[in-house]
């Protein structure tokens, strides 16, 4: 009797959790629609329903990241305005294995395209090749994977463009000479490493930066606690440090807090979210970050949305030279950069004391 009761309870629990699971994933995809509602109005105008009846998937780096959330909202807005169905998957952790299982389930769902924000350049090769083999159009955005496993990469800004912008900021903040350090995310993050390499190459090739001394690249793993430890270690190990450049949203926020709390004279720049950084941006000594950069994640998501649709309806194939109209974002042409096909969104956007108040409520 007792056993029977127990099994009934267990069965109910399993059923309930399954239902709950379905419920929450539906809520997940529906939720960003609310934030996207405002810009959707103007994007809906050129709708020619070319996306109708198809299913477009987006795989983000991980859940719990506002940048990813904004990107997904842009993607969703564009695809839904064109009459397509959107599936947004946020892996639990920012690891390639978490993405692999998510992509496998998308393959069995039979989606028409998958846009991936890669957590590793090569680890996704097998699963993406399998998806392409099933006729699914693969593209990447934000962070790329191996070029031959996808059609095209929606790049938020050219690697060299970001390298130049950040290097120029470091040059400006140090006054042209002295020690500076980089606080990155994880040591395998594809985009982080590309930007860091671009900065290093610029330092070698341009004599303008000859007096700048990059003392260390520290990795905070996009964890507030570890980023805090790493920032404090940088301050203690290099007493002459002038500038920290953190090209990652979690790292820059943690570093900003450390510097500001300690009233350190070290200045900070990099890539950060306006809402996270509003507290710390200012010209005076009471603020740790005079200015920083980022692109618009909503626009990046929208570009990926338009690209997905164009790939699925066959108006582009992903070859260099293909061009298409991305709604009100304008016309884009696929370029060949370092042997990989890319669509570049535009130059990074500068956030400084003059515009931070207006942007901090946006994302």
């Amino acid at each position: 009797m007792k056993k029977k009761l127990l099994s009934v309870i267990l069965a109910t629990a399993v059923a309930a959790s399954l239902l709950a699971g379905c419920g929450s994933s539906a809520a997940d995809t529906a939720a960003p629609a609310a934030d996207a509602a405002a810009p959707a109005a103007d994007a809906a105008a050129p709708a020619d329903s070319s996306g109708g009846g198809k299913t477009y998937a987006l795989v983000t780096k991980s859940a719990g990241n506002p940048f990813m959330e904004r990107m997904a909202s842009g993607f969703q807005e564009v695809v839904e305005a064109q009459g397509g169905t959107v599936v947004i998957q946020n892996p639990e952790a920012a690891t390639p294995d978490a993405q692999i299982s998510v992509i496998q389930s998308l393959i069995s769902q039979g989606v028409d395209s998958i846009a991936v924000d890669g957590n590793d350049a090569n680890a996704l090769t097998a699963v993406l090749t399998e998806a392409s083999g099933k006729g699914i159009k693969i593209l990447t955005l934000d962070s790329d994977v191996a070029p031959d496993t996808r059609t095209v990469y929606c790049n938020q800004a050219g690697v060299s463009q970001i390298g130049e912008t950040l290097m120029e900021a470091v040059y400006d903040l140090t006054g042209g000479e002295g020690d500076w350090a980089i606080l990155s995310a994880t040591s395998q993050a594809t985009n982080q490493n590309a930007w860091i390499d671009a900065m290093k190459k610029l330092m070698e090739s341009d004599s303008k930066y000859a007096k700048l001394n990059l003392v260390e690249v520290a990795y905070g793993d996009d964890e507030p606690q570890k980023s805090t430890d790493q920032t404090q270690a940088l301050l203690q190990n290099y007493p002459d440090l002038k500038v920290i450049c953190a090209p990652t949203t979690v790292g820059i926020a943690a570093a900003a807090k450390v510097l500001q709390d300690q009233k350190s004279s070290v200045k900070l720049t990099g890539l950060g979210l306006p809402s996270e950084m509003a507290e710390y941006i200012g010209e005076d000594d009471a603020h740790s970050c005079p200015y920083m950069y980022l692109w618009n994640p909503i626009d990046l998501g929208r570009l990926a949305g338009y690209t997905s649709i164009a790939l699925v309806d066959g108006s582009i194939t992903g070859a260099a030279g293909d061009s298409f109209k991305a709604g009100d974002l304008g016309d884009y042409t696929i370029e060949e950069i370092d042997g990989s096909t890319q669509i570049i969104l535009g130059p990074p956007f500068k956030f400084d004391p003059s515009n931070i108040d207006e942007w901090k409520t946006v994302y």
Partner: protein, 326 residues
């Protein structure tokens, strides 16, 4: 009575051997990088590891009853995210009230663990694993995958600012209270009794179920407070905050000599264990160990200390045995 030799003293107490490990660590790191021993740095070790220090006390109680709780950082995230959102939507801005709310959420989460483990006789690791997913999931659901960011928690974050006394005061109070509770109160001794021999405890009239439920509730309470502190110290609330850090807390207890099989462990040992964990994570980037090696070395140090612990324990038992024979 003859005086103990130094060797006997060292092998005579687990805490003493931990102090030695600590001193060796400090000397090695201090020689490589003298600025490690600065006041600011030592202070930051406590601040950056406040959460580990605090939750290790709860984990001590849980492990004394031969249990384990792996849902703590999920509880932390749920409580932290809740109070972050309360500020984001301008519902509550009073620091004290936020602590009360966070603690209440923690108590609720811990109580559920306690009831299911005590009354349902579910294995602690299974029950808390379930809640590990549930509360982490709840943190994502209520936040809708967003952060409560620096500007949302402005003002409140002053409490945990580097240099502000708040977190240290909480730590000192917690350790004093637990030290007294575990050593000299009836409740503290009950926890040890339940852990070392459940049946004997039951026969001698201790309400085992109630004691079990209490330790998980205490654990939840501390995790809730830690969630609030975390939001204040890092000036933002993310649904994935402190992900995977429950292992640091368990490691702190294990290093501190708390036995997984229950009944053995002390507040002083836990403190030293948490301190060693804190020093390791603070020191590794400061002695110029490449990033890729840091986790590996952390693991090696943890194992080395635990092995040392086991050896000390054995010698201690042998000495006790010898003394009894004489």
């Amino acid at each position: 009575m003859k005086k103990k030799s130094i060797g006997q003293f060292l092998s005579g107490s687990r805490e003493a051997s931990l102090v030695i490990v600590l001193i060796v660590l400090l000397i090695v790191v201090g020689v490589i990088n003298p600025s490690f021993l600065s006041f600011t740095n030592i202070r930051q070790i406590f601040l950056n590891n406040t959460l580990t220090f605090l939750m290790a006390l709860g984990m001590l109680c849980v492990m004394l009853t031969a249990g384990i709780d792996i849902s703590i950082t999920s509880t932390l995230a749920f409580a932290g995210m809740s109070i972050g959102l309360l500020q984001k939507y301008n519902v509550v801005h009073n620091t004290f009230l936020l602590f009360v709310i966070g603690a209440a959420i923690g108590i609720f989460c811990g109580f559920l663990n306690g009831i299911i483990i005590a009354k349902g006789h579910v294995a602690p690791i299974i029950c808390t694993m379930g809640f590990m997913y549930i509360w982490r999931g709840m943190a994502y659901v209520i936040s809708n995958n967003n952060w409560a960011s620096g500007m949302d928690v402005a003002g409140f974050s002053d409490f945990g600012k580097d240099g502000a006394p708040g977190p240290y005061i909480i730590l000192v109070i917690a350790y004093v209270v637990f030290f007294v509770m575990m050593k000299w109160t009836r409740f503290g001794r009950k926890i040890y009794a339940v852990g070392s021999n459940t049946e004997a405890a039951r026969v001698s009239g201790i309400n085992v179920d109630r004691t079990l439920a209490s330790v998980y509730t205490i654990m939840g309470f501390l995790a809730g407070v830690a969630g609030v502190l975390s939001v204040s110290i890092y000036a933002s609330a993310q649904p994935n905050m402190q992900y995977g850090k429950e292992m640091d807390v368990i490691a702190a207890c294990v290093i501190g000599g708390v036995a997984m099989s229950g009944g053995r462990g002390s507040v002083a040992g836990t403190f030293l264990g948490a301190l060693i964990i804190g020093i390791i994570s603070k020191a590794l980037p400061m002695v110029n160990i490449p990033n890729f090696w840091q986790n590996l070395i952390k693991g090696v140090i943890i194992l080395a200390v635990v092995i040392l612990n086991v050896v000390t324990q054995r010698t201690m038992e042998k000495q006790n045995l010898l003394r009894r024979e004489m």
